[in-house]
Amino acid sequence: MEYVISLLGPMWSGAQVTLKLFVITMLLSIPLGLALALVRISRLRSLSAAVGAYIWLMRGTPLMLQLLFIYFALPFVPVIGVRLPDFPSAVVAFALNYAAYFAEIFRAGIQSIDRGQYEGAKVLGLTYGQTMRRIILPQMWTRILPPVSNETITLVKDTSLIYVLALNDLLRVARGVVQRDFTFTPFIVAGCFYLGMTLILTWIFQYLERRHARFDA
């Protein structure tokens, strides 16, 4: 038991890296995903197609490959080549990748709203922008909470991929201790940390779903 308690300090510092990546990725990828979804469904054909290609690319290649590419290969790409430090590299890769998944969830959510809602708004004189902002998107959130919840929980666990950039996240810290002390206990502690984080997220989404249920048809 004392041994477990002694682990909490270093594990917590690893968890902070995990949480930081998680929060920043969420804050960036949700607005970006929403913007991508709106372009994807817009009548701007070429832009919509470009977003389609982007989503295909980001969903069609491993996140680990994207991480490695942004950290190691991006500096050598002509014109846009920049050398990012390790943590910002991870943030960029995660945000770009998750934005693609969120974009598809948002698109499906928007397209699941009945056409009558657009017509009802149109005959009242609302513009497309007002219709989206006040009528369609608020209803979209209700419908996409379950898939967003899924994606969010996946993100918590996907953050462990940043070990490839030698970032000391929760899992990499645990692995270091396992190799030092020849015991699996740190893995169990790390598992508990992940479970704790996902439990909190589950509660948050349950609360949101309940709150939205009051007007669900």
Binding site: G120, K122, L124, G125, Q139
Partner: protein, 264 residues
């Protein structure tokens, strides 16, 4: 010097004037040269078998559908007319919007906003479109709710309402924008029979207040008792139109007779 009366300033002008409206969905021709004039204060019912194009025609008037050729004016303002090649050419987007605001619409499927309460459903458009302050529109909204008999449902969400109540809220919502004309697209067709009465009663009251109304309906009783004029459409054409009493008492066309025989 002529006397300036409303008639001389603005010679009796149709609220809606539609001329030779043609529309196809792909190869299917749904409107074949429909023409209609709707006068101020007039209540016109459009009846006809399903697939006759009556709903499509109504939806063309407020630009929910676009026409292929023809001309539509609303209170004298051109919404769409033919270009030199006989193709329908619409006025710019902003103009379409301002013309559209002269008309309110009530749908078969209500189309209330489920995430907003009854009151919010009514005040949303006046606040967004007319930029009215909440404090100014709420009393008006409550007055409208009183009128349709649903003031007690002010803070309920639409999922708590019956179909008839939803439709009455939809009518109040349309009225809150202060339209000159109300279009009804089969307003009672989605309702259980015992709920149609309350919606028809509200519509009847509006007619008595001389609201200009164009009503696509299957309610023959409403058409006969409330409408000034009845139009019978079939296969994308107006087969017959007449003052309501005469229409039902003495239909002229064979197709009208057959339709009335089957529905009454």
């Amino acid at each position: 010097m002529p006397v300036l009366t409303p008639e001389t300033i603005r010679p009796r002008e149709a609220m809606i004037c539609a001329q030779h409206i043609h529309k196809s969905f792909g190869a299917t021709s749904v409107l074949r040269g429909i023409s209609l004039e709707l006068q101020r204060g007039e209540v016109v019912a459009i009846i006809g078998p399903s697939g006759s194009g009556k709903s499509t025609f109504l939806r063309c008037l407020n630009h929910l559908e676009t026409i292929d050729s023809g001309r539509i004016t609303v209170e004298g303002e051109v919404l769409v007319e033919n270009d030199a090649n006989g193709q329908a050419r619409y006025v710019p987007e902003a103009k379409i919007r301002s013309i559209g605001r002269k008309m309110g619409m009530v749908f078969q499927s209500f189309n209330l906003f489920p995430h907003l309460t009854v009151l919010e459903n009514i005040i949303e458009a006046p606040m967004l479109v007319k930029k009215m302050a909440r404090a100014d529109i709420v009393p008006r909204a409550e007055q409208l709710l009183q009128k349709v008999g649903l003031l007690d449902k002010r803070d309920a969400y639409p999922n708590r309402l019956s179909g008839g109540q939803k439709q009455r809220v939809a009518i109040a919502r349309a009225l809150a924008m202060g339209p000159d004309i109300l279009l009804f697209d089969e307003p009672t067709s989605a309702l259980d029979p015992e709920l149609t009465g309350e919606v028809l009663r509200t519509m009847r009251e509006l007619a008595q207040e001389h609201m200009t109304m164009l009503v696509v309906t299957h309610e023959m009783g409403f058409a006969r008792d409330v409408a000034n004029r009845v139009i019978f459409m079939d296969k994308g054409e107006i087969v017959e139109q007449a003052p309501a009493q005469a229409f039902f008492a003495n239909p002229q066309q064979q197709r009208t007779k057959a339709f009335l025989h089957n529905t009454l």
